[in-house]
């Protein structure tokens, strides 16, 4: 092969890569334009920050889920785990379950936000670790383990709280949900920081590359000397950690931890990851894609609500657009490779 053809090929492939990764992003841009044309106040900073705050909860979990799905795994328990961690955080923050009902923000009866945060992420990571252990040691498929986790964690949450919410945190904790740094909501900043961190870990560390390898072909990864089981356990710990972090932020934002929090989040979170281009068969995907996927869902929901579209129609439109977005991405990829 002559060097010129090679060069043109290589640059061709790079442009291709670039465009490919822009598939969902282009769709996102399109949506934003459409919504802005429909109602210009859509791109008011207030609304943009609203959207950012809204996607931060599921977005955080989606970051962790990206690790899991990259290994060809899945975690269906995240919604329940979110509720569980949130309840744990609330118990710690309030110092017990007894005062489930007081909204008095004065009461500093508990152990403070830091202990609550710590409790949430530690419990989340532990729960994830236990699930990872069941997956690798008992050889039960992730789908089954985390489906079991889904019902177990919900049951535990309801048991702790006896079905009710635990509400009323002090201002320092609430800041994590409702505060602003400059004009930017704190949850959005937490999400952005976590996304950057995850991007670096996945793209630029040996651990991150090992995650991709395990997902690409677990057996080959094992033969290449990677500790596949440890890596698998670690990704469930990571997603559990993020479920805990998201739970803390959500509780802070709502000033309440509810037993019914996070129902159905697993599907939203997994869609964000998958729309972002991560393959459910593992080995392919990126954090950037997940962020775009989460943003796409958030913009879609907010934009439809913004235009007061009836909730029935919303369902239909959201479903169709999700399919279209991914179809567009596939089409783009097949074109670009040509």
């Amino acid at each position: 092969m002559t060097s010129t053809t090679e060069q043109s090929q290589r640059s061709g492939i790079n442009v291709a890569r670039l465009l490919m990764s822009f598939g969902p992003l282009m769709f996102l841009a399109l949506l934003i334009v459409v919504f802005t044309v429909l109602k210009p106040s859509f791109i008011d900073p207030i609304n943009i920050f609203n959207i950012m705050r809204q996607i931060s909860i599921t977005g955080l979990i989606a970051l962790g889920m990206t690790f899991v799905i990259l290994t060809a795994g899945i975690d269906l328990s995240v919604g329940s785990l979110l509720a569980f961690c949130g309840m744990v955080a609330a118990v710690v923050a309030k110092g017990g379950t007894a005062n489930t009902l007081s909204l008095s923000t004065s009461g500093a009866q508990g152990y403070g936000w830091f202990a609550a945060l710590l409790a949430a992420v530690v419990v989340g990571a532990l729960a994830g670790g236990v699930q990872g252990f069941a997956i690798t040691r008992l050889k039960v498929p992730p789908f089954v383990v985390t489906l079991g986790g889904l019902t177990v964690f919900r049951g535990l949450t309801l048991t702790i709280s006896n079905g009710g919410p635990i509400s009323g945190f002090d201002a320092s904790m609430r800041w994590f949900g409702t505060g602003l740094i400059g004009p930017v909501p704190v949850p959005a900043i937490i999400f952005a920081a976590a996304a950057i961190l995850c991007h670096i870990v996945l793209r630029y560390t040996r651990y991150g590359r090992a995650v991709y390898a395990v997902g690409g072909n677990a057996e080959a990864a094992r033969l290449s000397g990677l500790r596949v089981d440890r890596i698998l356990i670690s990704v469930y710990i990571i997603v559990g950690f993020f479920a805990g972090l998201a739970a803390f932020v959500l509780s802070a934002r709502l000033n309440s931890s509810e037993a019914v929090a996070g129902i159905g989040y697993e599907l939203t979170v997994i869609s964000a990851v998958v729309i972002g281009g991560t393959s459910l068969f593992g080995g392919i995907g990126s954090v950037g894609g997940t962020v775009v996927g989460a943003a796409l869902i958030g913009v879609l929901q907010n934009g439809l609500q913004f235009n007061n579209v009836s909730s029935y129609t919303q369902s239909i439109v959201i479903g169709l657009i999700l399919i279209l977005a991914v179809a567009f991405d596939r089409w783009l990829k097949s074109r670009v490779r040509r």
Binding site: M1, E6, Q9, R10, I13, I200, R203, Y204, T205, R206, G208, R209, A210, Y212, A213, G215, G216, N217, E219, A220, A221, R222, L223, S224, G225, L226, R227, S279, G282, G283, I284, K333, S334, R335, V336, R337, R338
Partner: protein
């Protein structure tokens, strides 16, 4: 790392003592002992299913032995996983390729040990530069950023070899590293192996191409049915093939690669290709683009297709078979123009293809042998209502099991439990069961042992005798020479020459296969 001189040459680096391995019902290895010394190349030979890969997997920590002892460097060695072996400097090239398809070539080479740059973060640039150099050692020239899924089997094999060679090692285990390679790459590998030997690295080498083994191995250990059949030593000259074969099969061997006798193949033209051209396929961005292919294939004829890796032989097969899109050109079958758009169309017209990549394109790993066997001929083994005629199906499998001497436990056994060669025979049986008009076989004996290889050749000749037109792609020139009535050569997507099998020699073919390379060089 200790040099060769540091260790007394008499001291074995690795000693296997009475190793036995049992699977459910199967004893794959029984009481096998052998030794490897530093700076020596030990050939491990045996028929398909003899237990070679099993032994090597035990040595590299993939699976534990059922009983027996392994001593490495004087210390008892009980690897629990591949990492334990790797740590001691035991590097393995597995028979079933173990690259990660979703990752790039560079990443596969540096799996688990990516070069780090600033802040301890992975340096992608360094990885690319280094990996380019590493694959260049085995004569591979491709963009290290290419995903492995886009590589041909041969390229994957080269990448895997390159990776193994780039690791610090004291013992390199190579399980059929050359099964998809052509002469040129094999030569390159041989010279690298020679250099490693000089550096005191020990090598265990498995191949079914006995010439190779004879040329490079210092000693050989032969397995038969999981037992030790004996050791062979180089006494001044290379170990002779008949001696090896005798040890392998337990009886004297007849001449293996018989030259074809001049058969009467005056059949009509069955398949005719004119002006065939393909375009770049988005799914296989790396694939060779065919240009101006003209080809005739007569009934009852075996047409050998020779070429270097990446010459487009596989593309030609796939294009005719309807697996890849055709941009221009016509194909006629028995005088009628055909345009198969899918393999299903081609099969319905009477064309069959045994693909080169057994693992990804041919076998259904977890499914039973019976299903694997009949999948292309479901119509043949079912009644008008669509119900399977299982008794007929089983009878057919049983008869192929006998004629192809397939070693298997039961028709329900998942095919992944078979040795590579036996898997290949099942795939051949799959196509024989369809009784095609045209059968294209792409590397039909990849990983098949000498005995079975001869059987496969015989089967091909018999099929041709029944009037089937056969196109055989093979990277093994002796094989091409042995069975082809006519041979065409390919180079970079074009046909560069044609000659009757009787007249062909390795030298003549090599010249045609490398034709425009020499032209380029003179330009």
């Amino acid at each position: 790392m200790p040099t060769a001189e540091a260790i007394a040459p008499s001291l074995p680096l690795l000693a296997v003592e009475g190793v036995t391995k049992r699977f459910a019902g199967v004893t794959a290895l029984s009481d096998v002992s052998l030794e490897v010394r530093p700076g020596e190349i030990l050939g491990l030979l045996g028929e398909n299913g003899a237990g070679k890969s099993t032994l090597l997997k035990i040595l590299s920590g993939v699976m534990p032995p059922s009983s027996g002892r392994i001593v490495f460097d004087g210390v008892e060695f009980n690897p629990h996983n591949p990492q334990d072996a790797k740590r001691l400097g035991i590097v393995t090239i597995y028979q079933e390729l173990s690259l990660i398809p979703t990752l790039t070539v560079a990443e596969n080479i540096f799996i688990g040990r990516a070069p780090l740059g600033r802040f301890g973060l992975v340096s992608w640039r360094k990885m690319e530069v280094d990996s380019r150099a590493i694959i260049a050692r085995v004569g591979l020239d491709l963009d290290p950023e290419t995903p492995v899924s886009a590589l041909s089997v041969a390229e994957q094999q080269l990448v895997e070899i390159a990776r193994a060679l780039s690791l610090k090692s004291r013992l390199i285990i190579m399980d059929e590293p050359t099964s998809a390679l052509t002469e040129t790459e094999v030569q390159k590998l041989m010279s690298i192996m020679g250099r490693l030997r000089k550096d005191g690295v020990a090598i265990m080498f498995v191949t079914h191409r006995l010439e190779e083994a004879s040329a490079i191995c210092d000693r050989m250990t032969v397995l038969r049915d999981g037992r030790l059949a004996g050791h062979l030593d180089r006494d001044g000259g290379p170990i002779k093939l008949p001696k090896i074969i005798e040890k392998m099969v337990g009886r004297a061997a007849s001449e293996l690669y018989a030259r074809p006798t001049l058969r009467d193949v005056a059949g009509d033209v069955r398949l005719s290709v004119r002006g065939l051209r393909t375009v770049r396929d988005p799914q296989a961005p790396h694939a060779i683009v065919l240009e101006g292919i003209d080809l005739d294939l007569k009934a009852g004829e075996i047409l050998g297709v020779a070429g270097l890796v990446g010459s487009g032989r596989t593309e030609l097969a796939r294009a005719i078979f309807g697996a890849d899109r055709i941009a221009a050109g016509t194909i006629t079958l028995d005088g009628k123009t055909i345009a198969p758009e899918t393999p299903a169309d081609a099969i319905a017209l009477g064309i069959g293809l045994v693909p080169e990549d057994r693992k990804h394109q041919a076998i259904f790993a977890a499914l039973g042998i019976l299903t694997n066997f009949s999948v292309a001929a479901l119509g043949r083994y079912s009644n008008a209502l669509g119900f399977m005629a299982e008794r007929r199906e089983r009878q057919a499998l049983a008869s192929y099991r006998k004629t192809l001497s397939i070693r298997m436990a039961s028709p329900e056994q998942p095919i992944e439990g078979l040795s590579g060669g036996n898997q290949q025979k099942v795939i051949l049986a799959r196509w024989l069961a369809r009784d095609p008009k045209v059968l294209i076989v792409d590397e039909p004996t990849r990983g098949v042992d000498v005995g079975a290889k001869a059987e496969v050749h015989q089967i091909l000749v018999q099929l041709a005798g029944r009037g089937i037109a056969i196109m055989m792609i093979s990277s093994e020139l002796p094989e091409v020479l042995a069975v082809s009535d006519r041979i065409v050569t390919m180079r970079r997507g074009r046909i560069t020459g044609e000659m009757p099998g009787i007249e062909a020699t390795e030298e003549k073919l090599m010249e045609l296969m490398a034709l425009d390379q020499t032209q380029e060089a003179t330009q």
